[in-house]
Symmetry: C2
Subunit: 149 residues, 2 copies
């Protein structure tokens, strides 16, 4: 599975640890930065890079993972993009629901409030759970991209 | 404080309980539905209503609260709107960060994985925490609305 990763300074080391675990599990990791620990970097840049790369890849099996301190900024930023469904998950039940019900293609994580151990199991659940594709789920997902301000 | 509420069938009773607590705390509640328990209703409709009403109100003190089973669908839907910053929060620390760092104006809650007791304290923290308005926070928020697919 292709996994696009992004993080700001608050998620920098965390992202590198996730990348290692993902590669060990046999996934192809594309690291969209940040490339170095820069306290002045801005999370929207990395959310934008991961969202754009994922949309350009046009691969229904590919996923994105975004990390910042609370996970909130990344989740807002990624969900600005039509076609991106980003889920900030703090447990495996949420990761399962995000995939099963909403076909989410981006997982957001909080480096501050979710331990790396928890992140490992949340990530594994997110990457292995298929979308249930029930008509009611598909109908709601289609409505998402009709919304705009 | 004006609080716009919305929920699908999975958050219907939960939303009504939150409305009661908000009114008891002296807030003005605007209930954007669903108006009855309808298992066929779709969360994007209520996210759209709350986001649109909040943007139209143009009141920096007003907030939105959205509930669905996992909270994920509501969070994706609301964040499709520029000017909306929706945060799915599962504890008070996340609610504090969402307000302090990201000036979030919509709180999303999971009726399935967050108890009403927990929701009460998360909501209170979300509604009472001011935005820190540090230049780096403001810069990142401005970048959010420059993003699009």
């Amino acid at each position: 599975m292709k996994v696009y990763l992004g993080a700001d300074h608050n998620g920098f080391e965390y992202k590198n640890d996730l990348a290692k675990a993902l590669r060990q599990a046999g996934h192809e990791v594309i690291d969209e930065g940040d490339e170095a620990l820069d306290p002045n970097d801005d999370y929207p840049q990395f959310a934008g890079k991961v969202a754009s790369a994922l949309l350009a890849a046009n691969d229904p099996e590919a996923r994105g993972i975004l990390v910042c301190g609370s996970g909130q900024g990344m989740c807002i930023a990624a969900n600005r993009f039509k076609g991106i469904r980003a889920a900030l998950c703090w447990n495996q039940a949420e990761a399962r629901a995000a995939r099963n019900d909403d076909d989410c293609n981006v997982l957001c994580l909080s480096s501050r409030y979710t331990s790396l151990d928890e992140a490992g199991s949340i990530m594994a659940t997110f990457l292995s759970t298929p979308f249930a594709a029930a008509p009611r789920f598909t109908r709601r997902i289609e409505q998402l991209d009709d919304l705009s301000s």
